[in-house]
Homo-oligomer: 541 residues x 2
Amino acid sequence: MRRLSFAIATLLAATAMAPLAIAKGPDGPSAPVDKIVDQGTNHSEVMRIAQYLTDVIGARLTNSPPMRQAEDWTQAKFREWGLTNVHKEGFEFGRGWSAKNASVKMISPRPLTLVAAPLAWTPGTNGAITGQVVLAPMADEASLDQYKGKLKGKIVLLTEPTDITDSTDLDFRRWSDADLDRYDNFQLQNGAATANRRPSSQSRLAFAAKRDAFLKAEGAVGYATMSSRNGKLVHGQNSQFQVGATPPLPGFEIAAEDYRRLARLAKMGMAPSLELNSDVSFDDSDTKAYNILADIPGTDAKAGYVMAGAHMDSWAMGDGAADNAAGVSMVMEAARIIKASGIKTKRAIRFALWSGEEQGLLGSMAYVENHVASRPVDPALSGYARYMGWSKGFPIQPGPDHAKLAAYFNLDNGSGKIRGIFTQGNTAVVPIFREWLAPFNSFGATKVATARTGSTDHVFFDAVGIPAFQFIQDPLDYGSNVHHTDVDTFDHLKADDMRQGAIILAAFLINAANAPEPLPRLPLATEPNASEGFYAAPGAH
Amino acid sequence: MRRLSFAIATLLAATAMAPLAIAKGPDGPSAPVDKIVDQGTNHSEVMRIAQYLTDVIGARLTNSPPMRQAEDWTQAKFREWGLTNVHKEGFEFGRGWSAKNASVKMISPRPLTLVAAPLAWTPGTNGAITGQVVLAPMADEASLDQYKGKLKGKIVLLTEPTDITDSTDLDFRRWSDADLDRYDNFQLQNGAATANRRPSSQSRLAFAAKRDAFLKAEGAVGYATMSSRNGKLVHGQNSQFQVGATPPLPGFEIAAEDYRRLARLAKMGMAPSLELNSDVSFDDSDTKAYNILADIPGTDAKAGYVMAGAHMDSWAMGDGAADNAAGVSMVMEAARIIKASGIKTKRAIRFALWSGEEQGLLGSMAYVENHVASRPVDPALSGYARYMGWSKGFPIQPGPDHAKLAAYFNLDNGSGKIRGIFTQGNTAVVPIFREWLAPFNSFGATKVATARTGSTDHVFFDAVGIPAFQFIQDPLDYGSNVHHTDVDTFDHLKADDMRQGAIILAAFLINAANAPEPLPRLPLATEPNASEGFYAAPGAH
C-alpha cells in the first residue's frame, strides 16, 4: 500500500516537476516526495547534527570560540554532502566572550551555593570577589542618585524582586486545531498597537551604560540581576557586546529563588555577603561575526534561487538546542536530504546559518543589506539600536538579489513538529501552500495561516518585499522552560518532530525551486506605515 | 454583619464549650471562633515563623547545625508565647552532617559548570578531585561484577539515564471538588496491593553499602546519580546516616540535563572529566535527634491531651519550606493563636515538632514508643529498616499515654490551604469532623474523606489505635517542583493558605480538647493483616 499516493499527486501537480514524474511502483524509482520521506526517516542525520552542535560544541554565543567551531564544522558538513559555494560571510559585530567557570556563593549569614550565570560580555572576577549585597533596583537614570555613596565595596542587586505568579499553562504543549485556527487571522492593521510597549532596546542599552559607569564610579565590586523565570533556571543574557562598550564590572544573573532569598535577608537587616567567581575570556582578534552559506545549484542558472535559514548562534547558558540547533539541524538535514535524493530543481537552493540573531537578527540583516535590499539607517546606530531603526528607513533600495531570491523559509521555534506555515499577510500564497502541505497533512502539518510572526530571521527579507516565511511549530516545552535557559539541552529535543520538520522543509524548498512562477510578492512598502510596529522585540526567538 | 454566625453556633454545639458561650456582639467579647480567626488573620505570625525557619536558618537536615539551631529557636518561641513543659526529647539517630559548599564542573571535552548537590552524609572531597566519568549503572549486586577493574580513578555515573517524559499536569494546582471527592473513598481492604512495589528501603540500603565498598575497593574517586526531576532541580537525598555506615566516597546528585549530557558524551566515546568539590563537616558529638514538645495545659488534669505535630527536619537542598517549615509554622501559629485568644480547654494541647521524619518518620515513632504504645521489633534493626519492620510486630503494647492521648493532627503537605481531612478509615468521626469544618466551609475546607493517607508522622499513632489524622491540603506546586528540591524556598509558600491552615488547626485542637467525649477509636489490631501494606514508602513527605 502506498499511503502517500494522494500526496505524490499533489506534490507533482503543484510543482510541475515533469522530468521527475517517472514511472514508479514497488520495484521502480520512487516519487520525489517518497525519496524525501525515505531520506528523512530511514537515513535521518538530523539528531546526529543536533547532538554534535549541542553536546559536543555546546552553547554558541556569537563570536565565542564554540560559535567559531560550529562555523567550521557546519561548513565541513555541507562540503562533505557535496554542496557548492560553501563559505562564510562576515559582518561587523563585536567582541568574542566565553566563560570557563562561574559560581556565586553566599558566605554569610550562612553558607550556601547559589545557582547563577555570568552575564554575557561582563568581565571576570580575576579570582574570588567578596562583598555584601545591597538591594538597589535601578530602573532609570533618575533612580541612580538615591544610591550615591552607598555602593562602595558592595555587590549591587539591580532587580526589584517580584513574587511568583502561579503558572496556569501546561509546561509541555502541542497545538490543538483551535490553537492553529487562531493564527489564521489576517490583520488589516499590522500590529501597530503592540509597538513600543516597553522602553526601546536602544534606550535600555544607553541606560545600562550609564548605570555601569555609576556602579564603577561608586566603587561597587559587582552586580546581579534576578532570573525572569522561577525554578532555578538562568539565562545570562546581556547585549553589551561591542568593543569599547562591554561592562566594567562582573555581572551575574542569579536564580529567582536564590535572588529573592538575598533580597529578603537584606530587607530583614541581614544583608548577605557573597563570593563571586568567574573565569571569562575576551577575544577581539576578529570582531566580525559570520553567516554560513551553502548552495545546491539549479538546472537553470538564470532562474534565481530560493533559500532556507536558521540562526546558529545562541545565548551562553545551556547548549542552544531548541534555540536553535534544532532549526540549524533541520535546515542542514533538508540540504542533505535534497542532495542525497538526487532531485534536481530549476532554481538553486541556498542554505544559511545565521549569526548574531540573539543580538538583533544581525546576521540576516547583514545578508539582506549586502545582497537583497538596503534601507537608509543612521550610520551612528549599531547593534540593537540599528535593528530598531532599520524598519523606519525609506526608500527601500533593491539590491542585486532582490529579483533573484524567490522565497525564504525560516525555522526558529524549537524542535516541535511543523504544524503549518505563516504567510505574513500574503494571501496569494495561501492556496499554493495548501497544496504544498497536502502530502504532509497526515504528518500533522495542516495550517496555512495568514498571521504575521516576527522576532526571527525572516523579518528583514519580508520587510523588503521577499516572500519570506516562518513555519508554525508545536511549542512543546520551549516557552515554558527551555527558551534561552540552561535547560536548552539535547534531551529536550524531539527526534520525530525534527525528522518531520526537515522533510517538510525539503519539500517546500523543492516546490519553491521548481514552481513554474516565483511565489507572489506583496507590493513594496514606500512609506512608513503601521507595519513599523510589526517588528517584535528582538531576542524573543 | 457577622458572617460567621452559623459557624459560631456550630463550633459551640460541637464542642459544648459552655463556659465560653458568653454574650457576644459588635462591642462585646467575641465567640471563640472569631477570636481564633482574628488572631490568625489580623495578628498572624505564621509567615514570620516560616521566614525565620527558611531564610535565616535554612535547610534542616536531621542532626545538622541548622536543625540544632531550629530546635533552640522553636523552644524559645514556645516559651515566649507562654507555653509550658517546653522541652526536647532525644532518640538515637546518627551523624550530624552539613555542606558548606559544593560544585561539579566539567573540565573536558569543554568547560561547563554543572548543577549538582552533594549527597547527604557523603564525605567531602578535601579539595578538588578530578576524574573521568564512566557510565556504570549498578542496580543490584549482580551488576557490580561487570565493572571490576574498570573504575580506578574514575567518577562513576550510577544511574542509567532515562528520557524526559512530557509533563501532562499543571505545575500549580488546587483541588477541584471532584478531586476531593476521590479521597472520600473507604478502602475495605487496606492498600495491601500497593505494598512491596519496589525493593524495600532495607534491601536498597544494604545494597548501597555493598556498592560503596565495591567502588572504594576498585579505586573509584567519587560517584554521581541523576536527579529524578528535569529542569535542573536537585535533591541530594541519601539515607546512610548512621555512625559507621556513612559512605566512604564523595557522592553527588547531578541535575538531569547535565547528567544526561555526561552520559551521552561517554556513549559517544568522549567521556568527560569532572572536577568535584565539596566542603562538608560531620559532627558525632551528639548522635541523638530531638523532638520539640510544648504544652498548653487543660482545665482538667485528668482529662488527657490532644496533639498537633509537624516534622521540622528537611533534606539539605533548598530551605525546607513547603516540606515542612510550612507545617511547623502552622502548628506553632495554632499554639500562639490558642494561647493569645485566651480560650481554655478541658484537655491539654500538646505541640510536637518532629525530627528524623525524612529518614523514616523516626521522631514520631520514638514518641509513640516512649509514650503511647510499643510493638516488638527486631532489636538489630535501625533507621529505615526498623521503620519497615515496625508495623509487623504484634502484640501492640499500650503505654502510659495510650488512654490519655485523645487525638493527633498532622500537617505535612506543603503550604496549600486546608481543603478537608482524612479520617484514616474511621467512619465514626465523619459527622463530628463535618461539624468542626462547618465554620470553615467558606474558607475552602469542606471535605471529610475516609481514605487513608500515609508517609508522614500520623501513621505510627494510627497504627497503635490513636485517632490520628492528616489534613487534605491544596497541592500547589509541591509535587511538581518543590518537594525535596532546591526550590523548596520561602517564595513558593502561600501566606493566605498558611493563615487559613493555622486557624483551622487551632479550631480542631480546641474542639478535640473540649469535646465531651474523646474521639471514637478504631479497634486495636491484634494480628498482621492487610494493613501492613498501608505504610507508604518513607521519605515521600
